[in-house]
Symmetry: C2
Amino acid sequence: MRVGPSQEEIRRSNLGALLRSVHLHGAMSRADLTTSLGLNRSTIGALTADLAGAGLVSEGVPREQRGRAGRPSLVVRPESEKVYVYAFAVEVDRIVAARVGLGGVLLDRFEAARPRGEHDAATVVAPIADFVRKMQLASPAGARLIGSGAAVSAMVRRDDGYVRLGPQLGWADQPLGEALGVLVGDGRPVAVRNNADLAALAEHTRGAAAGCDNLVYLYGDAGIGGGIIAAGRPVTGHGGYGGEVGHMVVNPNGKPCSCGSHGCWETEIGEHALLAAAGRNATAGREGILAVVDAASRGDNTAQAAMRQVGDWLGFGVANLVNIFNPEMVIFGGTLREVYLASAAQVRSRLNRNGLPACREHVRLRTPQLGQDAALIGAAELAFEPLFADPLFA
Amino acid sequence: MRVGPSQEEIRRSNLGALLRSVHLHGAMSRADLTTSLGLNRSTIGALTADLAGAGLVSEGVPREQRGRAGRPSLVVRPESEKVYVYAFAVEVDRIVAARVGLGGVLLDRFEAARPRGEHDAATVVAPIADFVRKMQLASPAGARLIGSGAAVSAMVRRDDGYVRLGPQLGWADQPLGEALGVLVGDGRPVAVRNNADLAALAEHTRGAAAGCDNLVYLYGDAGIGGGIIAAGRPVTGHGGYGGEVGHMVVNPNGKPCSCGSHGCWETEIGEHALLAAAGRNATAGREGILAVVDAASRGDNTAQAAMRQVGDWLGFGVANLVNIFNPEMVIFGGTLREVYLASAAQVRSRLNRNGLPACREHVRLRTPQLGQDAALIGAAELAFEPLFADPLFA
């Protein structure tokens, strides 16, 4: 049973709200903070002093006012160089590690190709260990690591970042959260989430879906992942495994799926399906998808027919999700971005046929704003969350 | 941007938590309240005094201690006779109105058959008006109406209770919330929700899913509705139209659906589908379903084959929802209760084939605890919500 918070909890909550504001919006004047947080000026002053004392923000003259005459109004700025997190992304074909400063500033970024056909998380932990050493060397003296977050194309147990299954990675039962925890040296497992869940979080926090509280994010590569936000909060289910929209069966007479079932949505709209329908090498990946899209745009009949077919199935599943979630927005990420752009008419037409008018009438179909690094950005946001929950003691 | 609450908000939140406790659990001692709310005895005493002063609770000797020797320990009890809401349910074949006291006590209940084939909300508003007059007469002097809530088998706009579409009712564009608001006389629209959403809320609040924060509730009659709870909160989407799982297309080559699409889940598992598969009158409704279940249990081959077929499709859609929501529980309500009980083996078998192991491993398949009135109970809970948000000023 939830009860009301104490005075100390109120202060903590206000500190978190102020810090989150400058994290999301960048430098803000006290006047802007007063308006946006609904607190009075003296409270904002006291909170700012506390956060500055903890080395989380600083006050200064805004860049555009430097050198001008008159008394400048000060702004509160996140200490992006001094307060940072590590963010990791393990994707089918690459491994990325980044150091991200408060305010969402990318301080360092390292990327390596992921060797295909490796079935052990150790093969990604080794290069990440190397990246972490480089990032540690790059961190200025006195800078403070808040935490770490990781995105992975797999089903992840929320509590400890244990990867249950990542068919596209060829992984099963890999203790990724624990292994990364050892690397970054804080003894606890690193927070790990499914990459589509984190891309959804990132687009919701600072991307195409900012201010949009009901969102379905779809990520496509060889598989199809989903990240759902409902009433402003991620829908990840009991253990953290929710959002597996790629394994919604849409075609009972369909092809076998890597999961053991038949006719899963990803057998109709995953990269393999489009490449096969276009008569191409089904494992050509992103380059192959771009080649089909390009051929279709130049009038190639086979490529156009393949795009129409996959676009229709894409709209088919989107309609199901729109009927279930009544979202304000659906975002197409990964190679689904290209597939959607090249088949938007089919997608919309199928959505109009299968989607209930009340559920679909306000839905916007969009491409991501954050590009290929959305899941990485989401991993950084995840790592910052404890700081906003308790800024002085996180 | 959410900021911390004031002292007054804390008090309000604590008052709401205490009142909700006795609403859900019935009479509780101050000691039990102290433990369950995590507040000290003097705070509990002060909150109880405030709530008693407002006529919401009373303190007294528990029934089992009356007449015993020794000093009794007092309990805090909801004023069920004096504080009440109106709850309404508009279903395919009946209309129910009830007066429900704080603590979830059913004080009055009226039911009428709904005339089939009527396409205007006025035909249900008239008998409800009669029920409301009777309930007004039955309310003791000085008793206080907190508010009203209504459940309807339809897609409802959250903001004003406007029914967009209720194919099973034959309704479109009916201002039910407004019409009920005029009846109960408070000038504002009555809060109206989809019946499956409210049945899910009721089972989550005080039924089979109490304590279970990730729930999929399925309600079947001629159509199939869904009520989703994720991380403890209802998933109803942008306008309130979410949860339309009956219009998830599961069979692209399937039968036409009342919604205009083809192969929606409800064309495979709705009452019509089972009755048609069993070679019976497709409009026989609940009685017809019970007859098929009975025939199957007595060895009728046609009925058994129909049950197996529908059970397989039931498991098919459940597997999709389990992959999307990773719920702890799926509840089968309405006539789906009988269908599930008679075909549990098929449902589980299909779930095991199509559901991802991580998503399905902890899921419990259950029947409702609250019976036919679950949506009505949910409507009462909805009507009480403003009281718990601000007990002294609701």
